[in-house]
Amino acid sequence: MTELVIRFLVGGLVVSLFAILGDVLRPKSFAGLFAAAPSVALATIGLTIHKEGKAFAALEAKTMILGAVAFLVYAALASLILRRGKVSALVTSLVLMPVWFGLSFGLLALVAGKL
């Protein structure tokens, strides 16, 4: 239980710090880089290594690449839709969320035999 609470607090803190960096940096396209910062990974990797070992954390990092590919497609699609200006940012980012899930699980299924 304590580990989960620590994970939540550290995660919230690290993600918030990167988000604040995004708030204060201009131009917006540069600040946007921080929306894809490895904040969750940085928050969690120390705990994972401590509890599960380096091999476990390395395997997580391997499939993190697939999650990042899905994030790239998700963010690019969101940018494209928002540029047209017809749908709000909240609706666009939430409606596209299945794209991230579908792509990352799909890619994982594709490479599952090779992991």
Binding site: L4, F8, L9, G11, G12, V14, V15, S16, A19, I20, D23, V24, L25, R26, P27, K28, S29, F30, G32, L33, A35, A36, P38, V40, A41, G46, L47, T48, E52, K54, A55, F56, A57, A58, E60, A61, K62, T63, M64, I65, L66, G67, A68, V69, A70, L72, A75, A78, S79, L80, L82, R83, G85, V87, S88, A89, L90, S93, L94, A112
Partner: protein, 157 residues
């Protein structure tokens, strides 16, 4: 030119900071729980989950709309354009995220985590900042006339 504008902090309200903290904490917790119950391969996907992306682009849109409203016009389109520019930046950052993960995956098993994690973070920054610079200077060039209608036209690529 990249600028640091501390006034950006005042635009975000306390409850918006709280929302991002909660989403960030929840995403980190989720990644840990998924890894515990479904294994590291599944858990790893969630290390690149766009946890606060919806909150961030919504915030940017609303800030831009508010600025436009203060000038006396409807900033709906302008707000969405600003969110679009931020999302394009996030897409570039994802390539850096892949670089981060690659370094951790390949180097962590045989090396000291205290070296690998900072190195991976530097690689994320180098790839992301490098791609941003490349996009700004090489791929699209500078188009003063077309950028005149964009939010923060002077500094946006």
């Amino acid at each position: 030119m990249v600028e640091l504008k501390l006034s950006g902090l005042k635009e975000t309200r306390p409850h918006q900071y709280l929302v991002r903290f909660l989403f960030g904490g929840a995403a980190t917790l989720l990644a840990g729980l998924v890894a515990r119950y479904f294994g590291p391969a599944m858990g790893g996907l969630f290390l690149a989950f766009p946890a606060i992306f919806p909150a961030t682009v919504t915030l940017i849109e609303s800030h831009e709309k508010k600025r436009a409203a203060e000038s006396g016009y409807d900033g709906t389109h302008r707000g969405r354009l600003a969110a679009s520019i931020d999302a394009a930046g996030a897409a570039l950052g994802c390539v850096g995220l892949m670089g981060f993960a690659l370094i951790v995956w390949r180097m962590l098993p045989d090396r000291n985590p205290w070296l690998v994690v900072p190195l991976a973070t530097i690689v994320w920054a180098a790839i992301s900042f490098g791609l941003w610079e490349l996009r700004k200077n090489r791929l699209f060039g500078h188009h003063p006339r077309s950028s005149a209608h964009r939010p923060h036209a002077r500094s946006a690529p």
